[in-house]
């Protein structure tokens, strides 16, 4: 399996998104680098809307991911309730 990767600006919104990722993707590895947070996982990584809403304490729209996203790798599967990146190998 290849690793997927996603990076966010290091700010107060991303903190909760990353917490939700850690909760739902137990094998994900989080790297704190200057001004950014980079998360890696084997094969795939999912961000669930409900988990982010719980963490952040308010309604959160999956598409607002664009505001804090820096980069990602892999194919994307996006629905109203989740955002997933994955490799097919």
């Amino acid at each position: 399996m290849s690793r997927v990767q996603i990076a966010f600006q290091d700010n107060d919104e991303s903190r909760y998104i990353v917490a939700a990722i850690e909760q739902d993707n137990p094998t994900a590895v989080v790297h704190y680098e200057p001004a950014m947070i980079r998360v890696e996982n084997e094969g795939s990584l999912t961000i669930n809307r409900e988990s982010v809403c719980e963490q952040i304490g308010m309604d959160w729209n999956v598409q607002s991911l664009h505001l804090n996203l820096i980069t990602l790798t892999g194919h994307i599967d996006e629905e109203d309730d989740y955002f997933k990146i994955m490799w097919n190998n």
Partner: protein
Amino acid sequence: MSPTKLNLKDKYKLLTRDLDWEFSYEDRQEAFPYEEFEGIKITDWDKWEDPFRLTMDAYWKYQAEKEKKLYAIYDAFSQNNGHTNVTDARYVNAIKLFLTGVSPGEHAAHLGFAFTGRQMGGIGARVAAQMQSIDELRHIQTQIHAMSHYNKFFDGFDEFNHMHDRVWYLSVPKSFFEDARTAGPFEFMVAIGFSFEYVLTNLLFVPFMSGAAYNGDMATVTFGFSAQSDEARHMTLGLEIIKFLLEQHEDNVPIVQKWLDKWLWRGYRLLTLVAMMMDYMLPQKFMSWQEAWELYFEDAGGALFKDLERYGIKMPDYTETIKQEKEHLSHQAWWTFYQYTHAAAFHTWTPSSDEMDWLSEKYPNTFDKYYRPRWELAAEMEAKGERFYTTGLPQLCQTCQIPMMFTEVDDPSQVAYRESVYNDERFHFCSDPCKSIFDNEPEKYVHAWLPVHQILQGNCGGGGLDKVIEYYHLDNGAANLEFEGSPDAERWKQWKGVA
């Protein structure tokens, strides 16, 4: 009764797919004259998927929010004398190179995507290309705005647009984009969507920007990350177009493979500038070029190629060369600019002894053996008041336009030279891949505007170096030459009270 909210899929269907129409009285082929020009076969545009399902309304909403955040930071940066908070004035030279070398490329990409967006028959791809065209325009604008603050205090920024069309090293990024823009729409998509976005911006806008933050440059890191959030969409578009072409028809596979081979190399050669920006131009260092390349290309790009194997696509066969070069690239590039900095719109310097120790640690196989002695000699000469500049003009590669400075993979003491004869004329190249790119399309590359040839033909102001510098609009004695003793360095000392 409250209106029902559309889900993402339905919204995308209505606000993107439904924008298309049937051609009842015009010929479709005449409306999209470039669609078959490259030999690409499209059987069903409906198979195109935009994975982000971004519709125009959501696009404007989120882009507007990004801009608001960005400009609030620009205001804060300039109101608080942000330029005095960078780690060292040397750092600003990386930003000068960015504005002169990269930002005009954003504009070229904007024009290219406007053309491509018009020329593709499928509505999904057309809308995505339109968004990208607007993004690229936003990028050059936000970059000019961010750097306008530095322009008030440092030399070398003010003539970036004039320089981009003339200065020798800027022909490298300029010709890259012109090569892409003079190709057909699908090759352009692979060139920019894949090579530029997936490979290049991921290294320039992520580890380099993180480095900019580490060096206290709030304005640059902010536009960098804000731009890269668009690039995440662009990379996805690049990947999508490749998958789409490969799935549409088996005849597309060899064409796409040829484009990947060409553009991955073209993008990689362009990254030579970023390699030296990371290793030599960031005073506070956190990640070496080699580490960034391994993480963002070998790892991420490797996974991508593994995914494309099922279609019969393979990793280009020169990747071994790239692997070897990663330990040499930044050192050879900085050494080249060090010698020619009298004709460049930024300053260069010898790395300090601490910086050399960092380079030894990061490049244990190469730095002490090949490059440290060179820098120590340069520092020694400088101490004696004999700062070294090369007065001759370098030979350029006909394809990438970079001076011949790359060494043979198995012998770092020998500069690599390749050549081809076309129509009884001899052409020179820096490497096997640049030679084979030329050999595939010689009629295109014979037209290259090579700065050194143009200087020697008298087309760059005529006469000697002083005339060339004038032609470049290079503020001689201020914007060029060694950093130590430059007006930039003197002003910095005054601000810091160490004059």
